[in-house]
Amino acid sequence: MLEIRNLVKEYKNVTAVNDISFNIEPGKIFGLLGPNGAGKTTTIRTILNIIKPTSGLITLDGNSITEDFYNLIGYLPEDRGLYKKSKVIDVILYFSSLKSIDKKEALKRVSYWLSELNIEEYKYKKIEELSKGNQQKIQFITAVLHDPKILILDEPFSGFDPINQQLIKEQILNFASSGKIIVLSTHQMDTAEKLCSDILLLNNGKEVCKGNLAKIKKEFGTNNIKIEFDGDASFLNELDDVKSIDVYSTYAEIHLVQNIKPAEFLRKISDRLLISHFSVIEPTLNTIFLDVIKSTK
């Protein structure tokens, strides 16, 4: 189990991370969420042992982090980039040597991963000759080749087309079922919702929402409705009954104020809008995110 206790990181005049704590069990995917500048990257860098926390404790199975930790951790950073002029095989072998994997073993794993991600033919090509998506796959391989115990993925799906997103998602789920500790940091709430069992939502370096996702949804309330409609729905924004709203061209997800009954609300708007579908739904992670961030402002 990876435990983070009362983590604080202060820079000269900002507190990037202010007293956050969480645990991640093996086999679970943990969602580290928050708007830009919330402190996600700082938290990740502290776990990676790249920067030292001002205070707080990080332990793995009860042991504090030492240099051996470097070989147990795999990291896929948000900004991607590899040595452009170098060959695919050389780059992967270099990073695996930095994780203390011997060359023979590394070569075996390279073949496995290249075929798993359907890019065998690029083994001896230079990185710059690969498409952006394929470069991202190479980067993914460098993060997982040493079979890390802890996998930290920062926006793993950005830059991939839907087919490849599916491919990467399957790999991540495989890692989870094989008992790895996975930290997923992302802005894509729908992906996080599908993959993560536990989340921590950060804003301005502080915890604003954390715990089991199903529990959070339950606590968030049942006052969520989805309507499908025809006509101009822009007036919905101004209604007092609406706590927050996510409007698309033919449907909207609405979080109602606590004491408003969904049926009541439907009656109110049905004469102004042609409604073809109405349902009470679980709040989406996106709604929770928007609501929580708005209310903490």
């Binding site: 042992n49 470097y70 990291y75 950073p77 980039g81 040595y83 050389d90 270099y94 930095l98 203390s100």
Partner: protein
């Protein structure tokens, strides 16, 4: 430690494959050889043929003597260097002078020797030509005139002119450098100067080219966040150590290739090994100097985050590197002066100044030990400072840190 070697190997192998490295490996010796040979080639080409030189001497007493003396100057293929024409005719000096000037301007004669107030104590001579005369010509004609004048005077006083030969036969003073073994070698200022100078220029070029490479590769790793993957795989000190080690190996490899090229091109016999009798010691200073500057480059390089800043910093660094070259002549002329001693103890100039001193004079063993210790100590201190700056610098983007911030980084544990 294994990771340090893995990084060193990567830096070495990836840099050696680049075109920039190959080009610098071939171009640099060509530039050095060109610079070394060009002055000789240029001054040789001027002696292409016999020069027609006029003599205008209204007193009419020197022509024969000068002509005799000048005919002894030969070009390399044994043809006379000068052919003299007597321009003196029965006319007044002014019009003769004008006429002679015209002839020079029309390139009928290369130049002419004008002798005023001949036969008196206030004699004056001028060598007049279209452009400033070649210093060799000036020297030759000055010598010819003076000898002729003295000879005439001796003859007048009835003294044997063969005395003149004795007076003229200069005994040259040979400069001999005594080594610790009591072996004596002839030392020629120019040979010492150039042989040591080439060492320093090599050191400078290598530091600049590999320092530039280092900064650029750090910049690449910083801008695409590769650095984050690297420092999540090894400690910053391992990364720094690996980079220094890899680049030093690359530098040594380059020297080895150049040395081989030199032996193949020039032939080992042509290399005057006597001037490089201290080779092992010279190499130690060379390598330590190289490592010291590389350590500085790593620290400095980690704080830049744009190409412009990298260029700016490289140019500051080259200014520091040029410093020893400015003092090179003083060092060889006065290898034991106080000023040179101070420079040898100042780590930025220790390698270059010691390279010069070892070639120019015998340096006491105590000084060698002291300067080497200073250099090694500075390398260790520099690596500690650099790795502290490096640790924070590689993760900070945007505004370049101020000196005060850097000081804080170094102090931070």
């Amino acid at each position: 430690m294994n990771k340090t070697f893995a990084i060193a190997k990567w830096e070495f192998m990836e840099k050696i494959k680049t075109k920039a490295f190959l080009i610098s490996m071939i171009i640099t010796p060509i530039i050095i050889i060109t610079y070394a040979l060009l002055p000789t080639i240029l001054s040789d080409s001027q002696e292409s043929g016999t020069k027609l030189v006029g003599v205008l001497d209204p007193s009419n007493i020197y022509f024969k003597g000068i002509n005799n003396r000048v005919s002894q100057f030969k070009l390399s293929n044994n043809i006379p260097a000068y052919l003299l024409v007597n321009l003196t005719k029965d006319r007044n000096l002014d019009s003769l002078e004008k006429r002679a000037d015209r002839e020079v301007l029309r390139s009928k004669i290369a130049s002419y020797l004008l002798i005023k107030n001949g036969g008196t104590d206030s004699v004056k001579i001028e060598l007049r030509s279209k452009s400033t005369a070649n210093f060799k010509d000036v020297k030759n004609f000055e010598q010819a005139f003076n000898e002729t004048r003295i000879n005439l005077q001796l003859k007048k006083k009835g003294i044997d002119t063969s005395l003149m030969r004795m007076i003229n036969s200069n005994v040259n003073l040979k400069a001999i450098k005594i080594n610790k073994e009591g072996k004596a070698t002839e030392s020629d200022f120019l040979i010492v100067f150039f042989s040591s100078f080439i060492f320093i220029i090599l050191l400078m070029l290598m530091i600049l080219s590999s320092g530039g490479m280092l900064i650029r590769s750090l910049l690449e790793e910083k801008s695409n966040r590769l650095i984050e993957i690297l420092v999540s795989s090894c400690t910053p000190s391992q990364l720094l150590g690996g980079k220094i080690l890899g680049l030093s190996a690359l530098g040594l490899f380059q020297i080895a290739i150049w040395a081989l090229m030199g032996i193949v091109l020039v032939g080992s016999s042509a290399v005057t090994l006597e001037t490089f009798e201290n080779i092992p010691l010279l190499l130690i200073y060379f390598i330590l100097g190289y490592v010291f500057y590389t350590a500085i480059f790593v620290g400095v390089g980690s704080i830049v985050s744009t190409e412009q800043e990298a260029q700016q910093i490289t140019s500051y660094m080259s200014m520091i590197l040029i410093l020893p070259i400015v003092f090179a002549i003083t060092t060889i002329q006065e290898p034991n002066s106080n000023f040179v001693h101070i420079l040898s103890y100042f780590p930025l100039t220790t390698p270059s100044i010691m390279l010069l001193r070892l070639n120019a004079s015998t340096v006491p063993i105590s000084e060698i030990i002291i300067t080497l210790s200073i250099l090694i100590l500075s390398i260790l201190i520099m690596i500690i400072i650099s790795s502290k700056i490096f640790r924070i610098g590689i993760l900070s983007y945007g505004k370049r840190p101020s000196l005060r911030e850097l000081y804080r980084w170094v102090k931070e544990k």
